[in-house]
Symmetry: C2
Subunit: 346 residues, 2 copies
């Protein structure tokens, strides 16, 4: 089965139409006609081989939404015509301890990532969502309630779950004070989700111009991090910080804004090491940790939460031929707050 | 009331006899005739103004054991003649949230540290354990069971509680695999306590010569950290790491030895920032945190645990006139594993 797609051919990072092969649906497979796919910063890092050499042709995209167009004969959970999502991975062993705990992203055998990975056979390449359709095992397909704006839901499949998972794990709720570092694709989702969970949100940003947006999205406080006052004014106040910044920065001033025993969760990966003073953790017994997307069960929970709370991504919808330009604008931080590729016209 | 002592007069770090004033015992005070005091690396940093300018004369020492020689009229918990200990702090507000949770080391008003601090009045200086006696509020005095080797117990008051607290907090027990980074004063206590809690201990050290000692102290495995094999051979194996090293080092290779969701606790404070790759925390959702001594209740629990399990420090007992030499040898890592000053002859 062929899928029309836009593929990165090589490291120059330019997109061009390319036809890839999708497998014919097996008994447990769902075939999805892709309607929208978000552009995640990971797509750019991967397509440009910034996280190690990519396998070309590379078809990025793991914020996929669309409709079911065919199902395998054993598939019971989905019907043709239903809206569905596909996130950052499409298979895992299903038997190891993390898989049994619904944390397939940490599968001890192999998490099959949606693109630039290989299937469990270790050789068949995976191709992502900048394409006309995709074939995925039913267990790894997410349900989306009918009647919702699918384009604005696409980014939830990565940016949404990446921020929802740590906010949930650390019991974000009414009365909690949450810091969000960086107001980009991940950051704007963190603000919306934390606010929807009832928390009081403070955004830390290098850009004073983002204050009005931060507040519109749900933040109560906005701190420009270029002055020490941003941190001294928040000393010991926060329960939890979600750090979405992927440029190198010191964690120490942020740790000072946490309460005794408070937690800072990294969800942005900077290419170079960051700086950390040990005493920033020891004094006040602060916790620094990271979080990696979420398992299928938690991703479904997040989609249901966002549907209930009407939490969607702020997006800029583009045609596939604008992907190059969108990549450059994403790298420059010039997007509010996620590009989504409209694949209906592909 | 006067106390004979050995005091640091100034930043040249030389000790010389000096007489300090101790307060006359109030209704809730206990006067302790000091018999032994451990030399903690913090003493050296402080006496030499390496952690900011010290207040001179400076009398270090917060690993204090001795016998009660007088009690205030309201003191019920202690009797004259009893063996007791005094640790890293001697007062706190007693009313704030951390104090109420028995974590006086994080008092929101003021933790009165045993030396180079001031009393709650904000002006009366505190002087530590390199002295003939000390006057302390009864609530901050620890009980020690009779008939135990007091000199080997002294280091428990800081090195013991510093390592016991995180080992306990993260539920060290039979079947758990614990890493200990660095085999010095703190490290050797971490090995002994983790072993006494039933865990399997791996020591990471830069010194191949420490292997036999590590194993004698209770470690099952010993890894020389100068080769990558030290880390690759331990990939994903440990539940918890206690990092006692106070020289700058990268946390990333150690994080790789933790299981999914495993925790690395810093108890050594390096003067310069350390390096950390965010992905070392995100992949496998590792936790990096710190721990600062322990509250009075937990310190008592630790002393009782060590008495029951016969866990004491390996020490080198010295006369007060050898303190200078002991400082230099401690800085050079030439001590197995804690110098303790014999103050009986002062």
């Amino acid at each position: 089965m062929q899928a029309k797609t836009m593929a990165v051919f090589n490291k120059d990072g330019k997109f061009q139409p390319h036809t890839i092969e999708r497998r014919d649906p097996g008994a447990n497979d769902v075939v999805v006609k892709i309607e929208y796919c978000g552009i995640c910063h990971s797509d750019i890092h991967t397509a440009r081989s910034e996280w190690g050499p990519a396998a070309y042709p590379c078809v990025p995209g793991h914020e996929i939404v669309g409709k079911v167009i065919a199902i395998g004969k054993k598939v019971k959970r989905f019907k043709v015509g239903e809206p569905v999502g596909v996130g950052c991975f499409v298979d895992s062993c299903g038997k190891c301890s993390p898989c049994k705990k619904n944390e397939e992203q940490f599968c001890e055998v192999k998490t099959v990532f949606t693109y630039n990975s290989t299937e469990l056979d270790g050789k068949t390449p995976t191709y992502g969502g900048y394409a006309s359709h995709i074939t995925v095992k039913d267990k790894y397909v997410l349900k989306i309630k009918k009647g919702l704006p699918l384009d604005k839901i696409a980014p939830l499949l990565c940016a949404g779950i990446t921020t929802y998972s740590p906010l949930k794990r650390y019991k974000t709720s009414k009365g909690k004070k949450i810091g969000v570092v960086g107001l980009g694709g991940l950051g704007h989702m963190a603000v919306k989700i934390a606010k929807a969970m009832g928390a009081e949100v403070t955004v830390f940003s290098t850009s004073p111009s983002k204050e009005s947006d931060a507040k519109r999205l749900g933040a109560k406080h906005f701190k420009v991090t270029k002055t020490p006052e941003a941190f001294t004014s928040m000393m010991g106040k926060l329960d939890l910080i979600i750090d979405t910044v992927s440029a190198p920065h010191s964690f120490t001033p942020y740790l000072s804004t946490l309460k005794l025993g408070g937690t800072m969760v990294l969800v942005g990966v900077s290419p170079d090491p960051n700086s950390l003073d040990a005493f920033g953790l020891i004094g006040g017994r602060k916790v620094l940790t990271g979080s990696l997307i979420g398992g299928i069960k938690e991703t479904q929970e997040m989609l249901d939460f966002c549907a209930r709370k009407k939490v969607f991504s702020d997006i800029e919808l583009i045609k596939p031929e604008k992907i190059d330009e969108a990549y450059n604008r994403t790298v420059a931080g010039d997007v509010k707050y996620r590009f989504v590729v409209d694949l209906n016209t592909l």
